[in-house]
């Protein structure tokens, strides 16, 4: 059911065929610096801002849903709030791999989603929180100064999806009332964080788009574009090394869905599906309603065959994720589930090598004498 033994054959065959026609990067003339500028302008100025607007709107909607639910808690309200959580998380997972500027400023990405949590900090702090029920954690402003593990999506996941928290909120017992107030505070705080992100992005984007010799941050457009290439490359590495390798563990007997991202809301693979959408936007320039194909890093690749091959390979991986259940736990319960996850990791790793060799090489963004081989 899960195994797609043909993917490797497909990916390898397209790459091998293409390799004949691809000129080695070393033999190419330098891409003029002005060629990188439209890519920066499109990705940073056109593609990303509407997604940040969507993210902010989704978190505002989540807050609104939470407040409505808590004012008169019932099963339908809980389900509506859970749906709003998923909608906000879907957009966040698309934005998450663009790890730069306002996303990482002041630890914002960690405040939005504290993960990976190697030491189980969030669960431990959450248990203590439920025991003490401090009023400060129901105040969004005070919550913003609390531990990152208690103020973002993973904490909200605990509130909305863990144990019998939903029933407690519907019952409006002591725990339920606190959970409602705390959950509303988390959603409100996420709205604040997404609003800050939305507000700070334009200045950051302008600084990158205006790269030039007088800039102490981005002396060339190519150097600025390197950050986008790195986001694409590192985004895939993170999917493989953290989002898949952690639950896979050292072997089938060591596998644990609990080490995956968002295990309680059972959406670990749905996260990856959305990561791939956001990452593909960096390459292709297409993201949801922003449908201007070929204006991302692909605009720098003067080889339509290679471009088509890369898109086909990406689509193959995307299809694989889409066909799997959203929950790692559900996949691992299947007889061939571990093999399916391992296979997916292999596909992501192969995609990573394509990014390094084809995208990095042909856009001339993947090099660096010291950067690649220092000591």
């Amino acid at each position: 059911m899960f195994c797609k033994p043909s993917w490797r054959t497909l990916l390898l065959s397209t790459t091998t065929v293409l390799a004949v026609g691809v000129i080695s990067p070393g033999a190419r003339a330098d891409i003029p610096d002005e060629n990188y500028q439209p890519v920066l302008a499109h990705l940073l100025g056109t593609v990303m801002p509407p997604k940040l607007d969507d993210f902010h709107a989704a978190t505002e909607n989540l807050t609104s849903e939470f407040k409505d639910f808590c004012s008169d808690p019932d099963k339908s309200g809980l389900e509506g709030t859970q749906a709003a959580f998923h909608a906000a998380m879907d957009i966040w997972q698309e934005i998450q791999p663009w790890r730069m500027g306002p996303l990482v400023a002041n630890g914002r990405d960690q405040h939005i989603e504290y993960w990976p949590d190697k030491h189980g900090t969030a669960a431990r702090q959450f248990r203590k929180l439920m025991f003490d029920k401090p009023a400060a954690y129901t105040d969004p402003e005070k919550l913003s100064g609390a531990s990152a593990a208690l103020q973002g999506f993973p904490a909200l996941e605990e509130v909305l999806f863990a144990d019998d928290h939903g029933d407690q909120m519907i019952a409006a017992n002591e725990d339920g009332v606190f959970l409602c107030q705390y959950g509303t505070a988390i959603a409100t705080n996420l709205g604040t964080l997404s609003g800050e992100l939305q507000a700070e992005w334009p200045e950051f984007a302008t600084a990158m788009e205006n790269a030039g010799p007088d800039s102490m941050d981005y002396p060339t457009a190519k150097f600025a574009a390197t950050d986008l290439y790195r986001a694409l490359h590192e985004g895939l590495l993170i999917i493989s090394s953290q989002k898949l390798a952690r639950p896979l563990g050292d072997g089938e007997e060591d596998a644990s869905a609990g080490r995956a991202e968002s295990p309680i809301s059972e959406r670990s693979l749905r996260n990856i599906e959305h990561n791939l959408i956001g990452l593909f936007a960096i390459y292709d320039g297409t993201w949801g309603d922003v449908d201007e194909e070929g204006k991302g890093l692909a605009a720098l690749i003067d080889n339509s065959l290679l471009d088509r091959s890369f898109k086909l390979n990406w689509q193959t991986v995307g299809d694989t994720v889409a066909e799997l259940p959203p929950s790692v736990a559900e996949v691992l319960e299947q007889p061939d589930g571990y093999a399916a996850l391992t296979d997916l990791k292999g596909q992501i790793d192969f995609l990573t090598t394509l990014v390094e060799n084809d995208v990095g090489g042909n856009t001339q963004l993947g090099g660096g004498f010291n950067a690649l081989d220092g000591d």
Binding site: R99, M100, G101, V104, A105, N106, G107, R108, Q110, P116, P213, S215, M216, D217, Y218, P219, T220, K222, F223, T226, D227, R230, E234, L237, I238, S241, Q242, G367, G368, F369, N370, A371, G374, D375
Partner: protein, 379 residues
């Protein structure tokens, strides 16, 4: 950041205003002084797997290129002498003693069969002894070899580095002790000599040994949670403060410090840049250099294409300057000023106080890929 820079200017006694800078500091913001007779020397590479030790002047004009049998790394400078030591990067087999004015080979060092050079070397202040970090790979043990420059560079002793994977080493200000960055990574020539074999158990440290006896005098490590921070490069100020740069062997998203300050006898103090800069350091530091005043140190981050600057008095982050593929870093004779080089062939004069970067004017510099480390020689 602005606050930190103002604090630094105040610290420097210049009142935080550019126009009030003393003459010596104000000149630091200008283009290279034509009277600057300094020579910069570094390992370098051409486009075809060809490697050199190359020197250039303050304008960036290449003065000589001495071919090497393999990729070099850092250069050790013999005080008051023409000798400079170029040791092959890890796992290195050769070391060459070159004439700093011409690049001519004056002596050759051969690594013992059961050792490998690790790219860094330092001379004693009297110039007699050369100390080189090495890997005793069969025992996963770092060593410091001692070579007598007055006896044809004969290998005369070997000390324990008190750690695994020793990398950069420096003399302490008293001239009697060596501080060694033990990176903690075990490698073996049978496994290409560079691939780390012990990441899960690595234990990096900073160690200070007596340069005459090899006795361990001080040692410090980071807390266990940070044991994957390979302590690789360092510099020592005139007052004995040690600045160190780390290279993280863990996950890309882990939030870890990449810079440390060590006063021997106390713990290593980890310090961090603001998140947006810390992230752009990409978990990897290259060269570490104090400026001429000892009040600023620079740390290059080639993976992020940045050079970061830090206040050595307060341990605060000062600023950063973009330097694509930049790694080599040498202090000029002016406070807060450095020359940096890149693998793309660039050379810059960088002013940490005024956050200014000026490209060295001579294009001959661009014919080479400049390697990880840069040294300044007074001609």
């Amino acid at each position: 950041m602005a606050y930190q820079r103002r604090s630094f200017l105040k610290l420097m006694g210049v009142g935080g205003a550019f126009t009030l800078l003393p003459v010596g500091l104000a000149r630091a913001a200008t283009t290279p002084n034509p009277e600057d007779r300094a020579v910069y020397i570094s390992a370098s590479a051409g486009d075809d797997g060809d490697y050199y030790v190359s020197a250039f002047n303050a304008s960036g004009k290449i003065l000589f290129e001495q071919p090497l049998p393999g990729r070099g790394h850092d250069i050790g400078l013999r005080p008051d002498h023409v000798d400079v030591a170029a040791v092959e990067r890890r796992p290195g087999l050769y070391g060459l003693i070159l004439d700093r004015h011409t690049g001519d080979v004056r002596a050759k060092l051969h690594c013992p069969e059961d050792r490998r050079f690790y790219g860094h070397a330092i001379y004693s202040n009297d110039g007699r002894y050369l100390y080189i970090t090495e890997n005793d790979f069969d025992h996963a043990r770092g060593v410091v070899s001692v070579w007598d420059a007055e006896d044809g560079y004969r290998r005369v002793a070997e000390f324990d580095s008190f750690g695994t994977g020793p990398h950069e080493l420096h003399l302490m200000p008293d001239g009697e002790h060596l501080v060694i960055a033990n990176g903690g990574l075990h490698t073996h020539p049978d496994r290409d000599g560079r691939t780390p074999l012990n990441i899960s158990s690595m234990q990096p440290n900073l160690s200070i040994i007596d340069r005459r006896t090899g006795k361990l005098v001080h040692q410090a490590a980071l807390k266990h949670d940070w044991h994957k921070l390979s302590i690789r490069h360092l510099d020592v100020s005139a007052n004995g403060t040690i600045a160190a740069g780390f290279q993280y062997q863990g996950d890309l998203t882990n939030q870890v410090p990449l810079v440390g300050i060590w006063q021997p006898g106390s713990d290593i103090r980890p310090i961090e840049a603001p998140d947006t800069v810390q992230y752009r350091m990409r978990q990897y530091c290259g060269s570490v250099r104090f400026d001429a005043s000892g009040q600023v140190f620079g740390i290059s981050c080639p993976r992020g294409g940045l050079v970061t600057f830090w206040d050595a008095q307060t341990n605060d982050f000062l600023t950063h300057i973009a330097a694509p593929d930049g790694c080599g870093l040498a202090a000029t004779d002016r406070a807060g000023e450095f020359v940096g080089t890149s693998g793309l062939g660039n050379g810059w004069r960088m002013d940490a106080i005024r956050r200014k970067r000026v490209e060295l004017p001579d294009d001959s510099l661009k014919s080479q890929h400049w390697d990880n480390h840069l040294r300044r020689i007074i001609a």
